[in-house]
Amino acid sequence: MYYIVVYDVEEKRVAKVCKLLRKYLHWVQNSVFEGELSDGKFMELKYRLFELIDPEVDSVIIYALQGRWRNREVIGLNKNVAGNVI
């Protein structure tokens, strides 16, 4: 499954959440990550996110996309290409 994760967390946890997401997904914009994850990896990430954030004030939204629903269009600057050829 392809995931898009956006987060809005309290300032002191921004870096932590960002670093965690960097391990699993590709950074595309400030507070936005995307990429392919297996079910197991996704559960792991969700668990770690849950451990990290304060559910009272922080908000993380995860969009799950099946391949055939996926289309990516960039208007303006494409800040980062999430590919495996560097």
Partner: protein
């Protein structure tokens, strides 16, 4: 399941924040001509705030292919080892140099004993070696037959079929290797009829160095396949050094060579036909000199991209009833071999059924 990452830009690979970072360094930035390497292991922090640093999600990495000049340190290699990531290195000419093969994380003494047993006893070894030749020649034949409307190919198909009958009667490995050689000669003989492009005329198979474009493609494709197979073997309990068709004393992980033999016609050869016939790759993608020929960087990029797309593409598996990628098929081949070695089920090599 991670993906392979292919690195064509030069720079530094670093462990940072418990993930991998790629930092591109322009050759003339911190390049010391005298020692021909990046000076030390510089921290390339950009003062203008423009970060050239690119995080690579470690959980998404299956293996890393390095085609450029990269600096890294032991901290990075240790981290790869922790995450069971293989690092394949290719030299300036695009030839395979070697693999950083992290400590085995799946060990099975029982399987190693069985692997060795099947090697030492000639009759047991011959059974497996025959299967590899049988499977790979079947797949070659299938390639030719899928171009069969071309009647000129019939001579070659007949030649291979004739030779294939002899596989069963081969009494030892060298006879089998000779048989395999004949099949391969007939097979390569047919290539000019399939590719129909003067620049890619086959002439004869040459290695070290490849003499013409088609040989360069075969060599590069085979080494890409070899690394892919090695990566899959790494994820099983098999020991990659004990092989059956090839002699285990060779320098490489020879079990990967055995298994790659089956997949060469399915993956590499068909990819080459496609690239040439659809004119995706042409004369400009090669660097030709007096007695050698190799892919240019652009050519390599094209090839690697197409190779990756093909290996990740899926087909419906008949027995499993689900979609399996070509990479998955390689892994299944390893599992079948394990079953044979442990005496659960006789090994039957993969034979193409989907084209």
């Amino acid at each position: 399941m991670g993906r392979p990452y292919y690195i064509f830009s030069s720079g530094i690979l670093r462990r940072k924040d418990n993930t991998l970072y790629f930092e591109s360094v322009e050759a003339n930035d911190v390049f010391d001509e005298e020692v021909l390497c990046f000076v030390g292991y510089p921290d390339v922090d950009d003062s203008e705030g423009v970060s050239k640093r690119k995080p690579i999600p470690v959980e998404d990495v299956d293996s890393i292919y390095v085609f450029s000049e990269i600096t890294f340190n032991t901290r990075f290699l240790n981290f790869l080892s922790q995450n069971n990531i293989l690092l394949h290195v290719f030299n300036y000419y695009g030839f395979y140099s070697g693999t950083f093969y992290p400590r085995e994380f799946l060990n099975s003494g029982r399987l190693i004993v069985k692997q060795v047993e099947n090697y030492i006893f000639d009759d047991l070894r011959l059974i497996l070696a025959r299967k590899f030749v049988d499977g790979s020649s079947y797949n070659m034949l299938r390639n030719l037959k899928s171009y069969m409307p071309n009647d000129d190919l019939k001579v070659y198909v007949d030649a291979i079929e004739e030779e294939r009958v002899k596989i069963e009667s081969c009494g030892d490995i060298s006879e089998l290797m000779a048989c395999e050689g004949h099949i391969r000669n007939a097979y390569y003989g047919a290539w000019d009829l399939i590719t129909k492009d003067d620049f890619f005329a086959f002439d004869k198979r040459t290695k070290q160095p490849p003499r013409n474009a088609i040989n360069a493609l075969i060599s590069f494709g085979n080494s890409m396949l070899y690394t892919a197979v090695l990566g899959e073997i790494y994820k099983t309990h098999l020991n990659p050094t004990i092989s059956y068709l090839h002699e285990p004393s060779e320098r490489r992980f020879s079990l990967a060579l055995d298994i790659a033999e089956l997949f060469k016609p399915i993956i590499v050869d068909r990819l080459i036909f496609k690239l040439i016939n659809k004119k995706q790759i042409s004369q400009e993608d090669f660097e030709v000199d007096l007695n050698f020929c190799y892919l240019s960087e652009e050519g390599r990029k094209k090839f690697v991209k197409e190779f990756n797309d093909l290996v990740e593409s899926t087909i419906k598996h008949r027995n499993l009833g689900r979609n399996v990628s070509y990479r998955g098929l390689i892994r299944l081949e390893c599992y079948k071999l394990i079953k044979h070695l442990l005496g659960d089920q006789d090994y039957e090599p993969i034979k193409v059924w989907w084209y």
